[in-house]
Amino acid sequence: MKRKIAVVPCSGIGKSLGAAAREAAFILAEDLRPDATKIVALSLLVMGDEEARREVEGGEAVAIDGCKLECAAKGLACSGAARVNKVAVFDVIRRHRGLKPEGVCDLNEDGLKLARATADEAAKIVDDANAEGGHA
């Protein structure tokens, strides 16, 4: 059985882009690529939870970050992932001008569209990683 790719969203609580990162991770892991991905909580990973570390160590991982500080990518980089693929909501929104995401717990319609666009980009990364065959 193929190992699932770890998906780690930042889930920042201060801004809508962090919320969009979190929602994108759910869309990716539950709707778009449920057989190929698994969400791993950033806080568990960074605090050294053994099970979370096992999900990441030596494998491909996708970090979905809301802001330029890239906390999820940094956390993954320190957790033994073989390759960290970055998806940045702040870049995705530049490619979807006109979206005005609002809300944190309850994203507005534009926030959900942004999350979906982010998840679509992440799904392509997952497909590419699996096509390369480097993720057995």
Binding site: I13, F26, D49
Partner: protein
């Protein structure tokens, strides 16, 4: 008289994506910040805190914090203590859910009605702790905090 910064309480939620209780922490904290105690609280971003955000860590060194965790792994409380100072209060959602006899609360992605009620309960608990830390008299009943007591 110097213009001293107003004392606020920092709220740090785990936001764990693997359990619905992580989503409860997030919703409860935002409710306190946006509605219940907007003048008395700030949120500290746990991912930033973990990634070395000096602003977040400094705040938690000098101001009281409340860690709100979804489960007994207590990532938010342990991270706060490890990188700044012991939180002034620590709330664990699974403990509150057990006390209240909560049933299924939905998923991490979407809380059900029970999950939303639990988030209100947790928000009420955060308010109690905030008022205690700021030595404020209770401002009357907080929506959600009385629910389920009868």
């Amino acid at each position: 008289m110097p213009d001293l910064p107003r004392k606020k309480v920092g709220l740090i939620s785990c936001s764990g994506e693997e359990l619905p209780e992580g989503t409860v922490t997030r919703r409860a904290v935002r409710k306190v910040l946006e509605t219940l105690r907007p003048d008395d609280t700030v949120t500290l971003c746990l991912p930033l805190f973990l990634a070395g955000g000096e602003g977040e860590r400094s705040f938690a060194r000098f101001y009281p914090t409340i860690a709100i965790d979804g489960c007994d792994k207590r990532c938010a409380a342990r991270a706060t203590e490890k990188y700044s100072a012991k939180p002034a209060a620590s709330i664990v959602v699974t403990d509150i859910a057990k006390e209240r006899g909560c049933g299924a609360i939905g998923t991490a992605r979407r809380l059900n009605a029970e999950g939303l009620r639990l988030a209100d309960e947790v928000a009420g608990k955060i308010v109690e702790e905030t008022d205690r830390l700021l030595k404020k008299k209770p401002k009357g009943s907080v929506r959600g905090s009385d629910r389920g007591k009868s």
